[in-house]
Amino acid sequence: MDAVVSAIPWGPVLILLPLAAGTTCFVFPSTAKTVGLVTVTLVPLAVAGLAWRLLAHGVYHHAVGGWGAPLGIDLQADGLSLLMLAMTAFVGFGVTLYATGYFKAGQSDRFWPLWLFLLAALNALFLSGDLFNLYVTLEMIGLAAVAMTALQGGRDALVGAMRYLLATLLGSLAYLMGVALLYHGYGTVDLGLLAARVTPSPVAWAALGLMSAGLVLKTALFPLHFWLPPAHASAPAPVSALLSALVVKASFYILLRLWLEIFSPMAGGVAGLLGLLGGAAVLWGSLQALRQVRVKLLVAYSTVAQIGYLFLAFPLAAGMGLTAWSAVVYLAFSHALAKAAMFLAAGNLVHFGGHDRVVDLDRVVQRLPLTAGAFALAGVSIMGLPPSGGFNGKWLLLQAAVAQGRWDIAGVMVVGGLMAAGYIFKVLGHTFTQANVPHEPSSVPARMEWAAMILACGAILLGFLAPPFLAVLAVGNPIAAGGLGS
């Protein structure tokens, strides 16, 4: 059994399967739904196969076409990559289930190939081991994501997509400039080799600045978040879920890798700045979320706030690397599940009532109990209440903050949690009441309600899975190896 499972090249399977499926959907649109569903069922199985191999044999390497690095392209996966792949597979499954009921004929033809290409690009990104490959996958993700944002075709969606495209291209180019400088300075783009070679020098500092700025723009950290709310709020619901849950995590993952493996000896002041911006993002994003009158914009601003939490870990990592980085990965994973569930639930509300104005939600709890439940459960994880994945992540982060006497960071986290409770209960409260203007609701397909529910339950269940989660993260651990101290 082990010999068979470990012999299959899971890395290429994870990339080629969605790529082939996306092409099939493009050529034969009538088969799209079936092909999409089959693909997102097979991808988690492939991730499970990779997990088997990883737990049995340690870090996974695959030299594509037999050409090893530095000449060829190496695919590699450690515990961190595996968790990100699992996150993508799980969210992807839920969103696909939802999308089979959501899209009408015309949009559906365009959605499926784009989504499957996006899936291939995400998997490729999490399996990449060199900076240039990361750039290419990042661009593939960006182009697919922008095209999906524009899917609805209205004025808001088009302008949002255009702004998103300009931001994402700008970010990629800054990142690529950093890659060029690092290649010039150290003669390689392989992450492992760079980790051994990079020393604090002007070239490395310039690369650190350019790459961090580019990736921070793509991750939408305050104050570079301006493109996110319009793009995420005007996209179709399944697309918003994918953008908020997975796409922003992709650029954050690269930043995390760079930080852990290459730039760890020179973190210092930049980490403090990222932490400061993260704190500002938590407060500003939550404040804006509280002020929104539409559910989708509220959820989008909540993403801005939750991304802030991920950056709070950077200044804490110098003293307690292992705790802080584990917290970040935990937060990223549970945010993906909870935010996807929230956007899908918001999509159900729009489908149901024809609008997403918070005050005009009309007795949703009685008429769409599963959707309201999914929104509430996802909210539990976003607020960081136990038991949930969000709670575990915030608890670890809070531990790291308190142990180092960083009361400012701990304070921001607590205030952010209270504000999150504020904007989530604002929506939940109105789901119980009758609206002033009653409207004729249209029915929501059961699978769309269940898809949101499954993802929200995943975010809660993650709260019970801390030991296996942290054990997987420890496989080939770049966190412990990164010399950040723990």
């Binding site: 182009l143 700008l170 180019l173 301006f226 709310p229």
Partner: protein
């Protein structure tokens, strides 16, 4: 200063010029062109720093990167241009306007 580092400096200059233009100008076509100028700047830096001095052959890896980068830039520009046309058709002008999301 060698010719190669002069080219690299020009590349950095193009990158900065493009960055300036992308922020300053409102018209989408200008923004898209500015991003292309930035891209050319990065490619120039990559190519010019590929030389290994003396008579030895230049490093081929940056060339491969630039070719890949050009393919990416062409597809991104195509998407940007078609999106710009759709924006212009929907709003009547090829600008993003001032209404920011926050």
């Amino acid at each position: 200063m060698s010719i190669a580092s002069l080219y690299a400096l020009v590349g950095v200059g193009l990158f900065s010029l493009g960055l300036h233009a992308v922020i300053v100008y409102d018209h989408l076509l200008r923004k898209i062109l500015a991003i292309n100028v930035m891209g050319s700047g990065v490619f120039l830096v990559l190519i010019s720093l590929a030389g290994r001095g003396g008579n030895s052959a230049p490093d081929p890896v940056p060339h491969a990167m630039v070719i890949t980068g050009i393919v990416v830039a062409v597809s991104a520009t195509a998407l940007a241009l078609s999106l710009m046309l759709r924006v212009a058709a929907a709003t009547g002008r090829a600008e993003l306007g001032e209404e920011r999301g926050d």
